[in-house]
């Protein structure tokens, strides 16, 4: 049997063919994919472990000297406070978006609402305006409301700008759930709310968790608003990307690639852990009846 192309075959589930060629082929494909995804990360790690100008700027990945100085430098700049800020802000954004977005998505997917397409378009439109043009008026507004340099000053606009994507994803997933399941629940006497909780939400879990990861990562990596509203002060609200962008070398002009890559590694590892945890949830077995596990 021929090896699957990148578009893959349709091997849903547990049945795996056993011809040797297939196993080798799949392993090779897997190897290529892992290399493609992880090699640049490996480069980041190697670069972050290098010290000294020449090592940092040489095309040879294994050129020493090596050391942990870059990591020390990163933490000497209160980076753990930036991590705390980013975690709180991105976390709050995710929770708010999922909660507010899922009820809106439920309404769009299930309940009668006039002019849904118009509503969807308006929802989409919100997130499309070039953010750089929105920054000056938002800055002024935030300044007068005293929201500069605060967590809420960031997670409120983040929620607002990420709601469209959330609503779209969740609406799609809610709508894909067969109506008869809900019917069955209501026949059993459940209120619409309970039907939502016990039937729809679990079945839409893959979509919900996918949306959650996406919201979290986008809020985490957001740079423009964060660098405008909270450009300094890790003790208060400066987030991780802003802090990294503000790293300087030892002298003017010098580009601190060592500390930047070290900070990136420090930041990516928890994200990978979050991704590992969440990916389980996305593909978690859903034992209820007819839905795939």
């Amino acid at each position: 049997m021929s090896i699957t192309t990148k578009r893959g075959g349709d091997k849903q589930g547990i049945v795996e063919s056993r011809t040797t060629a297939q196993i080798w082929g799949k392993s090779a494909l897997l190897g290529v994919i892992l290399l493609w995804c992880l090699f640049p990360f490996f480069w980041l790690i190697m670069t972050s472990l290098k010290i000294g100008d020449r090592a940092l700027n040489s095309p040879d990945l294994f050129q020493g000297p090596f050391g942990l100085q870059n990591y020390e430098a990163v933490f000497a700049q209160d980076f753990h406070l930036n991590l705390r800020n980013s975690l709180a802000i991105a976390g709050t954004t995710t929770i708010l978006c999922v909660v507010i977005g899922s009820i809106a998505a439920y309404a769009l997917a299930r309940l009668p609402l006039k002019r849904k397409i118009l509503l969807l378009s308006a929802v989409l439109a919100v997130s499309l305006f070039p953010p750089v043009a929105l920054v000056p008026p938002l800055y002024e507004l935030w300044r007068s409301l005293g929201l500069l340099n605060t967590w809420e000053g960031l997670y409120i606009p983040y929620t607002s700008f990420t709601l469209p994507l959330t609503i779209f994803i969740l609406t799609t997933f809610f709508a894909a759930i067969p109506k008869d399941l809900e019917e069955a629940a209501r026949v059993d006497g459940a209120t619409p709310f309970k039907a939502f909780y016990r039937v729809i939400f679990p079945l839409a879990a893959p979509g919900v968790f996918a949306a959650a990861i996406i919201i979290f990562v986008q809020a985490w990596n957001e740079f423009l608003l964060a660098s405008t509203f909270a450009p300094r002060d890790p003790e208060i609200a400066q987030t991780v990307p802003v802090a990294i962008a503000a790293f300087t070398g030892a002298v003017p002009f010098q580009r601190p690639i060592g500390t930047i890559t070290a900070a990136c590694v420090v930041v990516t590892i928890p994200m990978i852990i979050v991704a590992l945890v969440f990916q389980k949830r996305i593909v978690a077995g859903l034992t209820a009846g007819s839905v795939k596990g």
């Binding site: 000294g52 002060d233 003790e235 010098q254």
Partner: protein
Amino acid sequence: MSGLNNRARWVAVVGALSLGAVAACTPSGDEGGDGGGGELTWAIGGAEAQPGGIHQRIAEMWSEQNPDNPISIEVLPEAADQQREQQALELQAEGSGFDVLGMDVIWTGEYSENGWVESLEDVRDEIESVSLPGPFESAVWGGELWAAPYNSNAGFLFYRTDLVDQPPTTWEEMCQMATQIGQQEDIGGFVGQGARYEGFVVNWLEYYWSGGGELFNEDQSEVTFDTDTATQATEFMADANQSGCFAPGFNTAQEEEARNEFQSGNAVFMRNWPYAYDLIKDDQASPIREQFDIAPLPTFTGEGTISALGGFNNAVSAFSDNKEMAKEFVVWASTDEEVQTMMATEASLPPTRESVYQDLADDPVMSLLGEVLPDAKPRPPAPQWNAISVEMQRALFPAYNGEANIQDSVQTVDEFLQSTVE
């Protein structure tokens, strides 16, 4: 998730909400003391503004000498454009958060036009009498002094002493040597700042000025752009790009790329700011650390030298609560001998006070700076400078890369310059 029973789910929800409630409260931090209470805030960025950097030490010196009016630094990012953005946000909102502003030399006209900075005419003589003329000129706009020169910068020609006996005095000579030696040694010829950004305009202007060209007259009321010289400069760059004089990667290089190439021994010549000198000398792993030296930039005529002027000035914010003390600070930072000398000896930042160069004439970098700075030309600190720079980049960058006609490009620049004085 159907494994979760009702209770577990409620726990999760409550937990999430509590996290939300806690997370929603920003930790209370110092809102950044404003000028209230006599404290000054200095908005300056870059490596030297970090704790341990020279600007911090200067701030501490001032605070010791002026305990009633201590100054603290609001650290801005390294990149000049980002510094300007952050200052602009505060100044447009007429905020009093910044008292002293660290300004790049090309922002003077813009800041003055927007009414963001206080005039320093009343302390002009004090400053003018001790400062180098080039840096001083960069702080003047419309005949008025708007900032106090603080530190400066000029371009050097770095060259390999093991490959070159005498540094070249003309650009053609340099290119000839670069191509020939480069081929012999199988390394690049000349590295500079050729990527499409402000640094490219700086490099191009050095070629243009060294051929005798000018941009504006004294008070920026007339355009004195010389299309012939401009064509000469651009053609020189285009030829150098083709012939191998310019090292590979010239057209994507900024300061750091050029430095790394030269520092690794991959180029014969480099045009860069003085900061590279110490970095190369201190780099144990560099193969050329004992085999390079600095010289004034060549010209087309072979006479004299012209380099572009960089550096920073300090200005007083028009919205400061404490303008008098801020003014005193900027004058002090500009004229005090100890401060200016410290910048040179402890941080390798070229000072603007003329006398320091005579005092430190033993140091090779300082002595070359002393030679080069009197002739260094500032880019016109006009409010339109950014727009002019962008136009020049867009017209001349493709021209030297062979993607646009040189005559037409030079013509475009001329027309744009004309439009700025109409």
